[in-house]
């Protein structure tokens, strides 16, 4: 858990405790060290005072060779708990008297060096010259252990420990009481925020504690919530407005569509009937009365018939176009190769001289008759517009791209100007003269409609006099079709 993730309450407590602890430690260490140093000094000076007194008291004993008196003087050292050994040496350096009586000889030095009091190893050693009225009579040797210092150290150690413990405890209790003033408002704010985001209830407001920065935060937070509430309402009403409008438009459009389809259907149907009569009767006249007619009249009749047929084709196409709108698209597995072969069979007569190349046709799903219609239209277009070439070539194939199957029909015919691409799939739009190429202008629109109903895309690429390629996409699911 990183430092930043610890709850504020604990962070505060830790910060305060750490600070107090560090401050305490530094203070106590400073005092401890100071005490240690000064205590050592005072122990040393204490010993030197004792040494001077003992030395002074033993002058007569040394001068008058009274061992018993010297021993008596040394015996007073019993009062000092830490002096382990003492010895009085005469001017020749011989040991005159020693303390305590039980001491083994090896515990005292054979001879003593220069005067002075110093710490040697773990002992305090004192060498005190015994002088009376300017005359050197001998030397006093003192050895004290540093027990006093160790005891003092221990005592101080305990005191420091207790002080630190008590202080830390007090700091802990106090800071626990006082951190609430900081952490409570923050915690409440955090809780409120969490509750709001969990329940998505924007009517909840955070309680404000005091006027400090947290209070400001709370006020700003509440204001934000007010804003959110207002905006939410606005968005909701806007949304419902939109939905209402969409419904309206959709039903309007649906109605319009239905009307249009009905219109187209009935018109085509109604147009067909008289047309049939025109064609029928014209053909009867041709058959029965051609010998009675002049060549010109026959020619005129043929023109009438071909035009009427053309009109019929147009009506058929329109009818087919409107029918597509009504039908549901069935989604059955399609064998594109088979469909392509069927299409080519049906237009065998027309395609005799043309070099047709069929590549791999991936399997897909869709409405068979509709897709067949698509292929028919595209292939007949390809044929139609490449017939005039010296060596007309058509290529049909497919490939895989981004989860879809792309099918293409390519020709090397007259192509079209990409400038007019927008009009390509429009109804009744033709990019070529009727004199050059026949057509109703409905074929590609039909292809577009069918493919769009299959949720695919249609597009084309072409160059004037350099052929055209038409593409359409259908979903790819070769796995499911097997």
């Amino acid at each position: 858990m990183g430092l930043a993730d610890i709850p504020i309450k604990r962070k505060l407590l830790r910060a305060i405790l750490l600070t107090s602890g560090a401050v305490l430690l530094i203070t106590c260490s400073a005092f401890f060290t100071y005490e240690l140093v000064t205590f050592r000094q005072s122990t040393l000076s204490q010993l030197s005072i004792i040494g001077e007194i003992i030395a002074d008291n033993s002058t007569a004993a040394l001068a008058f060779n009274s061992t018993s008196d010297a021993l008596e003087v040394l015996a007073s050292l019993k009062a000092h708990p830490h002096i382990e050994a003492a010895g009085i040496y005469d001017n020749e350096g011989e040991l005159f008297a020693y303390y305590p009586q039980e001491l083994k000889g090896s515990n005292l030095p054979d001879s003593v060096g220069r005067g002075g009091y110093r710490f040697i190893d773990s002992y305090l050693i004192g060498i005190q010259p015994i002088i009376n009225k300017g005359n050197r009579l001998g030397t006093l040797f003192l050895r004290s252990n540093t027990g006093a210092i160790t005891e003092r150290l221990k005592l101080y150690g305990y005191i420091v420990l207790i002080v630190i413990l008590v202080s830390v405890l007090v700091a802990f209790i106090l800071s626990r009481k006082m951190q609430g003033a900081i952490t409570k408002p923050i915690g409440e704010l955090a809780n409120t925020a969490r509750a709001i985001s969990d329940r998505k209830d924007y009517t909840v407001r955070a309680t404000k504690f005091g006027n400090d920065e947290v209070g400001e935060l709370t006020t700003a937070f509440n204001q934000m919530l007010d804003e959110i509430q207002v905006q939410n309402k606005a968005i909701k009403s806007f949304n419902s407005d939109l939905e209402d409008r969409i419904e309206e438009r959709t039903s309007e459009m649906e109605m319009a569509n239905k009307e249009l389809e009905a219109f187209t259907y009935s018109v085509s149907h109604d147009l067909r009937a008289p047309l049939r009569s025109v064609i029928g009767y014209s053909m009867i006249v041709l058959e029965d009365y051609s010998n009675k007619l002049e060549d010109e009249a026959v020619q005129y009749l043929n023109i009438i018939i071909s035009n009427a047929k053309r009109m019929g084709q147009l009506i058929d196409d329109l009818l087919a176009f409107s029918k597509i709108g009504k039908r549901e698209v069935s989604k059955i597995p399609l064998n594109m190769e088979m469909i392509t072969t069927e299409v080519l069979e049906e237009i065998k007569d027309v395609s005799k001289q043309v070099d047709i190349n069929i590549n791999e046709m991936l399997k897909t799903k869709g409405d068979k008759s509709m897709i067949k219609q698509v292929m028919t239209n595209l292939v007949s277009n390809a044929l139609k517009y490449s017939m005039k070439e010296k060596e007309p070539k058509i290529e049909v194939g497919s490939y895989h791209l981004n989860g879809d199957n792309i099918y293409y029909v390519k020709d090397n015919g007259v192509g079209f100007d990409m400038q007019y691409y927008d009009k390509l799939f429009g109804v009744f739009e033709r990019l070529h003269n009727h004199g050059d190429f026949e057509g109703t202008g409905v074929g590609l629109a039909l292809v577009h409609r069918i493919i769009t109903k299959h949720e695919g895309r249609v597009w084309a690429e072409a160059e004037v006099n350099n052929g055209a390629t038409f593409y359409f996409s259908l979903p790819s699911n070769s796995k499911e079709i097997e």
């Binding site: 008291n57 002058t59 007569a60 004993a61 001068a63 008058f64 060779n65 009274s66 008196d69 005469d90 001017n91 020749e92 009376n132 009225k133 300017g134 005359n135």
Partner: protein
């Protein structure tokens, strides 16, 4: 002084097999005489100036030989130079601070007792009755060591202040 005496002592002990044991005793007594100068205070009028000599005298036969000179010569006590005087007669004594009285001069000492008191003389002797006859410090031998007997009243009468350190070592005679 001890430093000089001891090698001499050893040397003499080594070479003089027919050593007179009394010599050793008097060596130590000579040292004591010197040491008394350090543990006794004389009144102001006995040592008028800072450089007034402190006189160590021997009345009667000199038992110390040359030891007294060896110990005391060129020594000072609190800037008072120490000198030695040998007296054959009591009347010869003018200024004397410490006087060692020989056994044969006891009667003379008793006669001069008032004079000695007024002259603040510290009388030292080693006869058994030294104290009873008015002496201040008696030296005697006990348990192989030289011990001291001090007559406080006599000391006081001579306005002599004897250091408590010295008194501690000695047998005190108060009468």
């Amino acid at each position: 002084m001890y430093r000089e005496v001891l090698p001499l002592l050893l040397a003499s002990a080594f070479f003089c097999s027919a050593q007179n044991p009394i010599s050793k005793e008097y060596q130590v007594k000579a040292a004591f005489l010197f040491n008394f100068t350090q543990f006794v205070e004389w009144p102001q009028n006995a040592l008028l100036n800072d450089d007034t000599p402190l006189v160590v005298g021997v009345l009667g036969e000199n038992p110390f030989g040359s030891y007294l000179e060896e110990i005391i010569n060129n020594e000072t006590v609190e800037s008072h130079p120490l000198t030695i005087q040998y007296y054959s007669e009591v009347s010869a004594i003018e200024n004397c601070h410490i006087l060692f009285v020989g056994a044969d001069k006891m009667e003379e000492m008793e006669l001069m007792s008032d004079s000695f008191k007024s002259k603040n003389v510290l009388t030292v002797g080693d006869t058994d009755d030294f104290i009873y006859r008015g002496g201040v410090i008696r030296l005697f031998i006990e348990k192989g060591k030289i011990q001291l007997q001090i007559n406080i009243k006599a000391a006081k009468a001579s306005e002599l202040k004897i250091s408590s350190k010295l008194l501690r070592l000695a047998q005190i005679e108060k009468s």
